[in-house]
């Protein structure tokens, strides 16, 4: 007889393995899949709770899907649950990517594949520009947002500044502005 705890840890691992496997090209499909698994199929979380986890995960340093997996796993089975869920969500990446990476050097040596990669680089540029467009539409709410974005871009591209001090500086600007606004209100 397998103990209940072990069964649930295995369940957390396999559930998040499936979610990791089907999140291709960004975490956009993760939330709908997770909602079905933890609020419909099982009574683990309410929908508001899940959305709360999502909001926390977006405001926490690190990979969003790992953050969510950690929250759900931790809620069910503490540290062991968090580890099982996180291991599950990253395992498909590790397996698929290692398989590709092992065969990549041989592929790259092929002339046709080299030309395909020239086209793929253009596709990546299109995708990034497009995704950036939709992020900007959602993310630019005040003049300060626009100034911070443009300043960060300019400092990295023309000033050769490293991103990390910029992130810390922008967090500080946000903190001071927030304090100043609350002080005035």
């Amino acid at each position: 007889m397998i103990p209940e705890v072990t069964r649930e840890l295995v369940l957390l691992y396999t559930m998040f393995f499936r979610i990791g496997l089907f999140s291709i090209g960004g975490g956009y499909v993760m939330l709908p899949m997770l909602r079905v698994e933890v609020t419909e199929k099982r009574d683990w979380l309410s929908v508001p709770e899940l959305l709360d986890y999502y909001a926390i995960s977006q405001a926490t340093p690190g990979i969003i899907s790992v953050n969510i997996a950690t929250h759900v796993g931790f809620k069910r089975r503490g540290v062991a649950g968090a580890l099982a869920a996180t291991a599950g969500v990253v395992m498909p990446s590790v397996i698929v990517i290692l398989l590709i990476a092992i065969f990549l050097p041989a592929l790259r040596a092929n002339v046709v594949v080299a030309r395909a990669f020239a086209g793929i680089r253009v596709a990546v540029a299109v995708l990034l520009t497009g995704m950036l467009g939709s992020l900007v539409r959602k993310g630019w709410n005040t003049a300060v947002d626009v100034v911070l974005t443009v300043a960060a871009f300019g400092l990295v591209v023309f000033g050769d500044v490293s991103p990390i001090p910029l992130i810390i500086g922008a967090g500080l600007v946000g903190y001071l502005l927030g304090r100043w606004r609350r002080h005035r209100a």
Partner: protein, 188 residues
């Protein structure tokens, strides 16, 4: 590069990846490309693979860059490194700080960081666009002639065409990457 250095490089990237997987790109470019471990072209190909395979883009990038630098163990170590900050910080928040996301201080800090992250992602997009489209030899020309000499016209046409399709019908990234590959073989 030792595994120890690799691990902490990715811990740092994980710690500063805030507000979505694309934020990994400028950090990784700075650490791996500007650090002299990868060429910009190699980096872009790894981004393409990470966008068209299952899983979070940050984890995919960590695995493939780690493998390229230090083999299978490197892939695993880099992955553990990039997820370690997420895992630890999220557990602390889950245990002790349930109102974290609603805290005014957290919200103010995040407002600043998100706006900055957009600029950083834009810088990564710019470096990638330059490598993909503006790869010619400028030959010392200036002004408009300089831009014309620098531009790979066929790549630019491909960019504009795919860009137009993206504006009207953004589909799964993997579709664009496959189409880009096919068009690359045919026209570039």
């Amino acid at each position: 590069m030792t595994l120890y250095v690799l691990f902490f490089m990715f811990v740092q990237i994980g710690l500063f990846t805030i507000g979505g997987g694309l934020a990994t790109l400028p950090l990784l470019k700075e650490a791996a490309v500007d650090g002299g471990f990868l060429s910009l072209g190699e980096f872009i190909d790894m981004v393409a693979i990470s966008q068209s395979t299952p899983g979070p883009i940050g984890v995919n990038l960590a695995t493939i860059v780690g493998y390229r630098l230090e083999g299978i163990l490197g892939g695993v170590i880099a992955t553990v490194g990039i997820i370690a900050p997420s895992l630890l910080i999220s557990m602390v928040i889950a245990r002790w700080m349930r109102n974290y996301a609603d805290h005014p201080t957290v919200q103010s800090i995040m407002t600043g960081i998100r706006a900055c992250a957009l600029g950083l992602i834009a810088s990564a997009a710019w470096f990638i666009l330059r490598e993909a489209v503006f790869t010619g030899d400028s030959g010392g020309a200036t002004g408009l002639e300089w831009l014309v000499a620098l531009t790979d016209i066929r790549a630019l046409v491909l960019f504009v065409l795919m860009g137009a399709v993206y504006v009207f019908k953004p589909a799964w990234p993997v579709v664009y990457i496959v189409v880009g590959g096919v068009l690359g073989v045919l026209f570039l």
